[in-house]
């Protein structure tokens, strides 16, 4: 399936890109992050991240659909 993945903060720095289209067999965010972490060498583990799917917070095991926008949310630091 094809996903749109956006990167922010330290994930963006490590990946070197703001966003990418990802062709993947992963059916949920957990599987997708495992793949992307291996590819980009992300330091942050899943326990440090939250997941958003199509602009809303979601669970790591929520089934992904083709075309979904997936964002891994590092620890926030606004304010």
């Amino acid at each position: 399936m094809n996903y749109r993945v956006l990167y922010f903060a330290s994930l963006r720095d490590r990946a070197g890109i703001d966003a990418e289209q990802v062709e993947s067999r992963a059916g949920d965010a957990r599987g997708l992050y495992t793949e992307l972490r291996a590819r980009h060498g992300f330091a942050l583990g899943e326990d440090r991240l939250r997941v958003a799917i199509n602009g809303a917070f979601a669970g790591w095991e929520q089934a992904l659909r083709d075309g979904d926008e997936v964002v891994f949310i590092p620890p926030v630091s606004g304010g």
Binding site: A52, P74, S77, G78, G79
Partner: protein, 141 residues
């Protein structure tokens, strides 16, 4: 109303928007860019936001404040982009009939915004380094 802004936040105008004839109290919070953090000299900041989710989560926090406290209006604005020392990074304002509710709601909103809204602060240090921060202002890695 929760706003992300590429341009300087006009606190005076935002405060006037909170006015209502029955409002006797207005509490505001402003977050300013400090010249240091955790003992390191800071030159400037960059804020990134995942804008659609930041707006949704920001509005959710304001709605929670309206339910939890007896307030008349509540608004929040957060800068994104590059900021210099002393710049206004985030503004929260609350109007209410009485001051206890205004203070409590104002504090609730800034605490939750810092904890939950997908905005990230990148500090640029005097030594040439930069780093992404946690909500407690410690480095991410």
């Amino acid at each position: 109303m929760f706003r992300l802004s590429e341009n300087p936040i006009d606190a005076a105008t935002l405060t006037r928007e909170l006015a209502q004839a029955g409002a006797g109290a207005c509490a505001t919070f402003e977050g300013w860019v400090r010249d240091h953090n955790e003992g390191r000299a800071v030159l400037r900041l960059g804020y990134q936001a995942y804008a659609p989710l930041a707006k949704t989560e920001g509005e959710r926090i304001l709605e929670e404040a309206r339910k939890k406290f007896a307030i008349m209006d509540v608004r929040c604005a957060h800068r994104v982009g590059t900021l210099d020392i002393g710049d206004l990074a985030v503004w929260v304002g609350v109007s209410a009939a009485h001051r206890a509710d205004a203070f409590d709601a104002c504090r609730y909103v800034i605490d939750e915004v810092k904890r939950r809204v997908p905005i990230w602060k990148n500090e640029h240090y005097a030594d040439g380094e930069s780093g992404w921060l946690h909500p407690d202002n410690t480095p991410v890695e």
